[in-house]
């Protein structure tokens, strides 16, 4: 809600000309979300500071969205966000466009400027902040704000008090702020539409195309709108196409990033498909199919005549549906697939009649005391010929550089098992329900700790 802009370029009060705002007046500008004010806390020949302050109406922000469950205790009135970009464009529009009739030479001159943002939300932390501003030549100082000084163990808030110093043309600085503040905040107060691409390209012209973090900037600026991101990235990169399927729930993304160096997920899918092929299964149900990665592999193979994807998350199923629709599958191919919501802790008639069931990276999302239900649902009632279960091997966690010791790979994992734990469980389950089980490792094997993922193939 507050931004100050200081210059020491003499005479410093010329900043008033550049901004088209008189240093001795406090001016108000009506905005759709409240009001913006410009005033100068100091205006001397050596040093002049302009302040842009927003008064965002907190009640107006949420009224009218009666059915939305959005939080009403909101940081928006207090932090630097896309509201600030809107205010920059409106209040300092002429300066942003690089126009000043009184001081035309000053517009083209790089002058020493310091921007102070007392509350800047930085999604991704200080590293991202530096990643965004340092390549543009800024000297960055950032002070994290503690959540509550009475509760030091709560740690820091996602906000930083930030100073950015650079000798730069004012118009350039304003366009950097215009684009990068919402990027750091990673949240837009308005609907992101096609015109955003145009805005991004306009305000990013001259610097964004060679910014090393341009992909992050583009993706975040367009707020994860995949289509738009691709459109913008294509225009920026001219030729080398980025991966169109870069979208994932942030949680899973974190897990994936962790495991990425070995592209474990692909190996896992390949191993599961190979085990299915080896078993000769024609009717396969993927339990906990998520967004449908395995389903897509299965659909490509006509040997799988009937494929069902089951997940407890309806949202995941919708996304699976969307992805499969984008996957260029013919209606005949798609007719082999059936998606439905189901749970592994309830007995379910619809799970009967399959040759094989796959349970890929699912069991670790269940509380250990609920596993008994899963065992009965799967092995006693659904009872396919083949069951394939994969789960992380916790022993391997020590080999992930990014994972602090004692932490599980995904915050929703209720447990991760050693090889011995998994095998004990699986053997006992197999015995109880009349299956044979074989174990395989997935991913690069480490002599001491085994493979990152372990797989049990049950047959009866």
């Amino acid at each position: 809600m507050l931004l100050t802009l200081t210059t020491t370029y003499g005479p410093a009060t010329d900043l008033g000309y550049l901004l088209h705002k008189h240093p001795d007046r406090c001016q108000a500008f009506p905005m759709s979300f409240g009001q913006a004010f410009v005033f100068y806390p100091e205006a001397g020949a050596e040093r002049c500071t302009a302040a842009l302050m927003l008064d965002i109406d907190p009640v107006g922000l949420v009224r009218g969205k009666s059915t939305s469950l959005e939080q009403y205790v909101n940081d928006r009135p207090y932090v630097a966000s896309s509201f600030l970009s809107v205010a920059i464009a409106k209040v300092f529009g002429t300066a942003l466009a690089g126009q000043c009739n009184q001081r035309p030479e000053l517009v083209a001159t790089a002058i020493p400027l310091t921007v102070s943002l007392p509350v800047l939300p930085c999604r991704g932390g200080e590293a991202v902040l530096r990643q965004l501003f340092e390549p543009l030549g800024y000297e960055v100082t950032a002070q994290p704000l503690p959540l509550d000084d009475q509760f030091p163990d709560w740690g820091n808030s996602p906000y930083f008090a930030v100073n950015l110093h650079h000798t730069v043309r004012l118009a350039d600085l304003l366009s950097h702020l215009y684009v990068l503040i919402p990027v750091l905040d990673d949240e837009k107060h308005y609907w992101v539409g096609d015109e955003e691409v145009e805005k991004l390209l306009r305000h990013g012209s001259g610097w964004l195309s060679h910014h090393p973090a341009r992909e992050t900037i583009t993706r975040r600026y367009l707020k994860q709108q995949r289509q738009l991101t691709r459109l913008a990235l294509e225009q920026l990169s001219e030729g080398d196409r980025p991966d169109p399927d870069a979208e994932e729930a942030p949680q899973a993304q974190a897990e994936e990033q962790l495991e990425q160096p070995i592209s474990l997920n692909q190996q896992r899918m390949a191993a599961v498909v190979a085990a299915l092929k080896a078993s000769g299964a024609k009717r396969v149900v993927d339990l906990g199919c998520g967004e449908g990665k395995l389903l897509r592999s299965l659909l490509k193979d006509p040997g799988f005549e009937h494929i069902a994807g089951v997940d407890v998350s309806h949202r995941a199923l919708e996304r699976a549906q969307e992805r499969l629709e984008r996957g260029f599958f013919s209606p005949t191919q798609r007719s082999r697939l059936n998606l439905f919501q189901g749970s592994l802790t309830y007995r379910d008639e619809r799970l009967s009649g399959f040759d094989a069931a796959t349970v890929v990276e699912v069991i670790e999302h269940l509380d250990p005391d609920r596993l008994a239900s899963l065992e009965r649902v799967l092995f006693e009632f659904a009872r396919p010929q083949v069951v394939i279960i994969t789960t992380p091997n916790i022993e391997y966690n020590s080999r992930f550089a990014g994972l602090p010791a004692g932490t599980l790979r995904h915050s929703d994992h209720r447990f991760e098992w050693t090889r011995a734990e998994f095998q004990t469980w699986a053997t006992q389950v197999a015995e109880r329900f009349g299956y044979r089980v074989q174990f395989h490792g997935i991913g690069a094997e480490d002599l001491a700790v085994g493979t990152p993922t372990q797989m049990g193939v049950f047959e009866r």
């Binding site: 001795d24 005033f39 009640v59 009403y72 009135p77 709560w154 802790t345 309830y346 379910d348 008639e349």
Partner: protein, 867 residues
């Protein structure tokens, strides 16, 4: 001609075009009972006479007929039906739904039909059509019986048709008007000594039979002085020593209308033997035959005739007490109840087998009761079991008397069991009684059949749109999309469903206050209840913690026996969405142990005659559960607000100091800064670090249920007093909630309460909850909100935002709609109480779970979260 048809029948009209079938149908049946092929041709093609549409028309007709028959509705098919291939699918439908097929043939001269068609402009299809119809019909007449029609009525003239009357007869199985009370008695198998003893125990007295209809029946008749009646589940004879006396006793009671009886497979086998059929004499039939052989030879024939007559008249199964009770020898699936067909009779006598043979050489019985979802209670016998146990509203009360077990009766409607042990083993069972095959035995002590069955819930019992009947509100609808959300939460996060016998309802705030500076004020709570005619309310301090439902058992054995859980400790503490409250099991165990100790030392177990209790509580501090919310939301906003506003104030001050006119902006920002401080203070009060149980406070406010009782029949003062008593036993952990009663007719009482509220909220209290003194109140308009909350001015900052209280913000916030929240609160309350009632009554878990799942589903309804 008087045509008698069973009340549940598929009536097939057979007649040529123009024979007057539609007129006949209109005269004798409801319009909705008649499915006319003409109508369906019209529906699918806009032309009732379009023969090209016949195929589609009949497809729809058959579909609707199937739906009607499945629902137990008499159905009349008005089509020519003159060819066997027309009737074949109809006979198949009747068989599929176990309804009786009836043919009514309108056999008129061809000429008459043709003439009638001539007079109708839409039926100009030539005489040859009618001619063919009539020929087909005449050819059909002889084959109708063979095709499967149970009743065939021929109307051969206009006079026949005009004078025909139709009488609907109740099915023999329909004895819904018999309301009991009953004493239902399992398989006797000739154990007449035990039967006599059982009847005596049940209060029946033997009197001399006044007029036996045959000398064979010379035997006393048993009567109950209060008019109770016995219901015999069949298998009266074979294996035991006194089969004929058993027959005499039961016959005489049936004849005197002091008993009802359904046949068992042994009785029917005896009947076939008595009818001279060739049956294999084994499984105890030899004993019965020996008894008959021992009769004086001059009485034997007459005795056989009497027995034949009695056994022949027995009806496969009976539907009693308005459909609430079904009795049959081997049980009865829901879709067969009250129906009549060979299959129904077979099922009643033998049940169903899976086709497999067990290790004792006996057929493996298909466990229909495990899948039973019907409304009616089903009482049956046939399969000897060590003890009679409920499973999904069904109970097998054949406790194997003849094998040395017991003879058992179920009192209805009391649902109590009365047993007489066998005097000796009359017959060695092939399979030992003690170990029922095919049932998984979990750790000792064994769980009940119902608990074993409940080990796993079925998704079909929760998914999709559901209507749940509750005691407090007639029916609560759960929408499909809400069930979807609830399934996800239940599957991913909730604790073992066996523990989840209740979820708390949402609570509405008071109506918005007009009091300056306040959004909520106690006056509105009082006015709300007063206007509903309630005179006394209780005001309880609202604790700012997290809602917790706590179940504590006296020991782990109780948890196992009553909740069917193994190795899960003596209880549980779970949140409003059914998640375990604590991630640290040791902390939970410690809390439960402390609570257990407090309940023990205060004598609550004895006082409420229970060994478990379910409490509705608030657990403090708020920060123990709301860590995520606090850090990501509340503290973050506070940190941002303080930093942003103090910077703004500093910058404005600096500008103002150097002479810039900043107008009202500086004081405005200073005021906002002040509000931000108040906001931070508000949430801080509810936070303190928790390192051990010493930092926790548990404030119970409802004793929801204990063994045999849901305590919604007590006043809130009772709850508060009981709770205060056991809280004294452990004041470090347990917090008795401050409360007071307000007499709504007394202004002083109201204003004292308001003062109390102002006082508490000014010193950091969240506010109070106002409840009618009775736990459950109804008015003419229905159920009354069980509680409304009235929250303090500062507390609401953490709900409405730091700056909600400025006059211009407050004015806008006053417009808030409470009706959706209130409607949800009532539905959730009704469901929560229903879940408890069902659990306490020992209902199957799925019926408890259905309600709890319903609360969770309703909680996923989007509603203004600030309310």
């Amino acid at each position: 001609m008087n045509i008698t048809i069973p009340e549940l029948a598929l009536v097939v009209l057979v007649g040529a075009s123009g024979s007057g079938k539609s007129t006949f149908a209109r005269r004798h049946f409801l319009p909705t009972e008649v499915l006319s092929s003409d109508t369906f041709r019209g529906l699918v093609s806009d032309d009732e006479n379009n023969q090209a549409a016949s195929r589609d028309a009949f497809e729809v007709l058959h579909y609707i007929a199937a739906k009607r028959l499945a629902a137990g509705r008499l159905t009349v098919v008005d089509a020519t039906n003159v060819q066997p291939q027309d009737r074949k699918p109809l006979i198949a439908l009747a068989r599929q739904y176990h309804c009786i097929p009836v043919a009514i043939v309108l056999n008129l001269p061809e000429r008459l039909c043709s003439d009638r068609n001539q007079q109708r402009p839409d039926r100009q299809f030539g005489a040859h059509v009618v001619q063919r119809h009539v020929q087909n019909l005449r050819r059909s007449l002889r084959s109708l019986k063979r095709e499967g029609f149970r009743h065939i009525y021929e109307l051969n003239s206009l006079e026949d048709i005009d004078s025909a009357t139709i009488e609907r007869q109740p099915l023999w199985t329909n004895r819904k008007a018999e309301r009991g009370p009953f004493d239902i008695i399992g398989d006797v198998h000739g154990c007449c000594d035990e039967l006599e003893q059982l009847l005596e125990t049940l209060g029946y007295r033997a009197v001399e039979t006044e007029q036996a209809d045959a000398p064979f029946w010379q035997f006393p008749t048993y009567r109950h002085p209060e008019g109770r009646r016995a219901v015999f589940l069949g298998d009266l004879v074979d294996r035991g020593p006194r089969s004929l006396d058993t027959l005499r006793l039961v016959h005489n009671m049936v004849a005197a209308d002091t008993a009802l009886c359904v046949p068992g497979n042994h009785d029917m086998k005896l009947l076939r033997k008595l009818k001279g059929k060739n049956v294999k004499v084994n499984h105890g039939l030899e004993q019965t035959l020996a008894e008959i052989d021992a009769l004086p030879s001059d009485q034997r024939d007459e005795a056989i005739a009497a027995m034949r007559q009695f056994l022949d008249a027995l009806i496969s199964h009976l539907v009693l007490d308005d459909g609430r009770l079904v009795v049959a020898h081997a049980g009865m699936k829901a879709e067969l109840q009250g129906r009549g067909s060979g299959y129904v009779r077979e099922f009643a006598l033998y049940g169903e087998t899976t086709g497999e043979i067990d290790e004792f050489g006996l057929p493996v019985r298909y466990n229909w009761a495990a899948e039973y979802r019907g409304q009616a209670m089903v009482v049956y016998g046939h399969t000897p079991v060590p003890t009679a146990e409920w499973l999904n509203q069904t109970i097998d009360i054949d406790t194997g008397c003849v094998f040395g077990g017991q003879l058992t009766a179920l009192r209805y409607p009391e649902k109590t069991l009365v047993s007489i042990p066998a005097q000796r083993v009359y017959c060695e069972p092939v399979k030992p009684l003690a170990a029922p095959a095919g049932v998984r035995t979990i750790a000792a002590p064994p769980l009940t059949a119902q608990q074993q069955h409940d080990d796993l819930l079925d998704i079909a019992d929760v998914l999709g749109k559901r209507l749940i009947s509750t005691r407090l509100q007639r029916q609560v609808t759960i929408r499909d999309e809400n069930a979807i959300a609830a399934l996800e939460v239940m599957s991913r996060f909730a604790a073992n469903p066996k523990w989840l016998i209740y979820l708390p309802p949402t609570m509405s705030p008071v109506a918005t206050s007009k009091h300056p500076g306040y959004l909520e004020y106690p006056t509105e709570a009082f006015a709300y209840y007063q206007q509903l005619g309630i005179t006394s309310v209780v005001c309880e301090e609202k604790h700012m913690g997290s809602r917790a439902v706590v179940i504590v058992c006296r020991d782990e054995a109780v948890a196992h026996r009553r909740f069917g859980v193994s190795d899960e400790g003596i209880g549980i503490c779970y949140t409003r969405t059914g998640r375990r409250f604590f991630t640290d099991p040791a902390l939970e165990a410690e809390l439960l142990a402390r609570l257990n100790a407090a309940l023990t030392s205060s004598g609550l177990w004895e006082q409420l005659q229970t060994d478990w209790v379910c409490l509705d509580c608030e657990l403090m501090p708020w920060s123990v559960k709301a860590q995520g919310l606090l850090r990501q939301q509340y503290a973050a906003v506070g940190a941002a607000a303080n930093q942003a506003l103090s910077q703004a104030v500093a910058q404005l001050q600096q500008a103002s100091d150097r002479g810039v006119d900043v107008g009202a902006l500086l004081p405005y920002c200073q005021q906002r800064q002040q509000l931000a401080h108040q906001y931070v203070d508000a949430y801080r009060r509810y936070c303190w670090p928790v390192t051990s149980i010493a930092d926790l406070k548990l404030a119970p406010f409802h004793i929801l249920a204990t063994e045999g009782a849901v305590h919604t029949d007590k006043t809130h003062t009772w709850h508060m007093q009981q709770i205060a008593q056991f809280c004294q036993s452990d004041p470090d952990l347990l917090l008795a909630t401050p409360y007071h009663v307000v007499d709504l007719n007394d202004a002083a009482s109201q204003s004292n309460s308001i003062d109390w509220w102002c006082d508490r909220t000014a010193s950091g209290g969240e506010g109070m909850v106002v409840k009618p003194i009775e736990f459950v109140s109804h008015t003419a308009k229905g159920l009354v909100q069980p509680a409304v909350k009235c929250r303090g001015q500062d507390y609401l900052r953490i709900i409405y935002g730091p700056e909600y209280s400025t006059p211009e913000n407050l004015e806008r916030l006053r417009q808030r709609g409470l009706s959706k929240k209130r409607s949800l609160a009532l539905r959730e309350f009704a469901l929560g109480i229903e879940a408890l009632e069902r659990f306490v009554a020992g209902a199957p878990l799925r019926q408890v779970h259905e309600c709890v799942f319903g609360v969770l589903a309703l909680e996923s309804e989007p509603v203004d979260p600030r309310l």
